[in-house]
């Protein structure tokens, strides 16, 4: 089942083109890795899929992007789109609230008010993000007291708490130590059964470890996409080969 599908998607910021003719699909319960040097349009793609780019005047989109066969720009309400397509940002960005309230922020937005339902959601989300055991006794503490790796898992839990169908990760481990990175990768693998996930990463090896398929982006273009093992062992395009083997980027 195709979950997300883009066809001939172009994105501009003012007069600069950030994504060129991206045609790509992501299947349900798949982890798609997106690799490529910085400024290759990876982050822009994620922020187009939940329409966060539209917060900035000057961004413009052409072409199509679909979620479950519905055009996200015309056929899906922007708020429910963002609820269904969650994102985890590059830096851990807890809100200045307690751990509990960080996770409950999203569910509360969507009308869940009862304390025991919120508690259930918080517990489940934290467990899914592999953070529960570390914070279950300190839910009322400020989220800023957590370590960087814990904060990032908190952000994953916060994203999961609104029960999205798709989770986008924008270089989620860029500032983290190897052990925290490992924990996040394990969490992603566990989440496969329930979510479609797209992982943008600067770390070539991370995509190899986690993703089912990998796409390689360069300067706003999709160079190639395929089964991860094939991309890493027998890339069709020389530029992919160069990037993976570390000759540039």
């Amino acid at each position: 089942m195709v979950k997300i599908k883009t066809s001939n998607l172009n994105v501009w910021f003012d007069w600069e083109i950030a994504l060129k003719n991206i045609t790509l699909d992501v299947s349900e319960n798949e982890i798609l890795g997106i690799i490529g040097p910085s400024n290759s349009g990876k982050t822009t793609l994620l922020r187009t899929l939940n329409r966060l780019n539209e917060l900035y005047p000057g961004s413009r989109v052409e072409g199509k992007a679909e979620l479950d066969g519905k055009d996200i720009f015309t056929e899906v309400d922007i708020l429910s789109l963002r609820k269904r397509v969650g994102i985890v940002f590059a830096l851990p960005l807890p809100l200045p609230l307690s751990i509990f309230d960080n996770i409950a922020y999203g569910p509360r937005l969507h009308g869940i008010k009862k304390n025991n339902s919120l508690s259930e959601i918080v517990e489940k989300s934290l467990k899914d993000a592999a953070l529960w055991d570390e914070v279950k006794d300190r839910l009322q503490e400020s989220a800023f007291k957590l370590s960087g790796g814990q904060q990032q898992r908190l952000c994953i839990a916060r994203t999961l708490a609104v029960e999205p169908e798709v989770v986008l990760y924008d270089e989620p481990c860029s500032g983290l130590d190897p052990i925290s990175t490992l924990k996040i990768e394990e969490a992603m693998k566990k989440l496969k059964s329930n979510y479609t996930q797209i992982l943008v990463t600067n770390n070539v090896k991370q995509s190899a470890r986690v993703s089912d398929r990998t796409a390689f982006f360069l300067m706003g273009e999709l160079i190639e996409v395929g089964i991860t093992a094939e991309i890493y062992t027998a890339p069709k395009d020389k530029r992919t080969d160069d990037y993976i083997s570390g000759r540039f980027g």
Binding site: T74, D77, L79, L109
Partner: protein, 292 residues
């Protein structure tokens, strides 16, 4: 797609937000309209040129004469004096506070200046009558110390907090690299200040001067109390004068609504509105130029 609201509260609050934004424009328009509504009636009796350029302000003589030139000159004289006093002091203080003063003294000085900004102008006017005016009378051997000079000194103090804080902002936002570059070439800190930092902060200083002028020209009560209130063409800074603002404050109480005197005071309001509009636009322009 049509915008969906999450709740009724949200619908109303968003309408209120837009309305409040629009209200600011409405207020400016209303102010101008009501000044015009009352003020323009004057010009059926008095021509604009004689209003602006005649030297006689005798609003209650018969026939009344409405020439505001002495009032304009009074405002200009007092403002000019205040700016001459406050700008050098303000630049010096801003430089001292932002570049020279040790941190502990800096906090102290800054609070002092904030305190000055907090004192109501009526209080400064009161102190001015009791201490400043007699001092001026004694120093210059005058029959009264209530003069343009007293007004200028008083107004300089009122404008200083504005002037200092804007210049300080301008100095602080000069890129560090300018300063370091200059110091690296062997310039002293002082040379760096007047050759590099002050020129780089010049548009902020201009903005400060403009806003200072705006503050001074619009000040009413303290000026009314301390400048002696004589609506005559000033010839010296040691004479009593009457400003545009003080005239409105002093005479509106006696002017009969609907009389030409009443209209004339609103017409002065129009002049003040236009002056402040121009000054603030200029200041804003300088500030934006500084930011780029």
């Amino acid at each position: 797609m049509k915008k969906k609201y999450v709740s009724g509260v949200e619908f109303f609050i968003e309408k209120a937000i837009f309305a409040s934004g629009a209200a600011t424009i409405l207020f400016v328009v209303l102010i101008f309209v009501f000044l015009l509504k009352e003020g323009l009636s004057l010009f059926s009796e008095v021509s604009l040129t004689s209003f602006l350029f005649s030297k006689n302000w005798y609003p209650i003589s018969d026939p009344p004469q409405f020439g505001i030139l002495p009032l304009i000159m009074g405002s200009i004289l007092v403002t000019f004096g205040a700016i001459v006093i406050s700008v050098p002091l303000g630049v010096a203080a801003a430089v001292y506070i932002s570049e020279v003063a040790p941190k502990s003294i800096r906090t102290f000085l800054k609070s002092g200046i904030e305190l000055l900004a907090a004192i109501p102008s009526i209080v400064l006017g009161f102190i001015g009558i009791i201490f400043l005016a007699p001092a001026i009378r004694n120093i210059f051997n005058l029959s009264s110390g209530l003069t343009a000079l007293a007004g200028s000194i008083m107004l300089a103090f009122m404008a200083l907090p504005t002037i200092v804080s804007i210049i300080e902002d301008a100095i602080v936002s000069v890129p560090r690299s300018y300063k370091e570059g200059s110091l690296a070439l062997g310039a002293t800190h002082w040379q760096t200040i007047y050759k590099v930092i002050l020129p780089a902060a010049s548009s902020g200083i201009l903005a400060a001067i403009m806003l200072g002028i705006g503050r001074v020209i619009g000040e009413t009560m303290a000026v009314l109390m301390i400048t002696g209130n004589a609506a005559i063409m000033p010839t010296s800074i040691l004479q009593p004068v009457r400003t545009l603002t003080a005239t409105i404050a002093a005479e509106m109480g006696e002017a009969v609504a609907g009389s030409s005197h009443y209209y004339a005071l609103f017409a002065i309001g129009i002049i003040l509105f236009i002056i402040s509009f121009v000054i603030n636009l200029l200041a804003d322009m300088f500030l934006h130029r500084g930011k780029k």
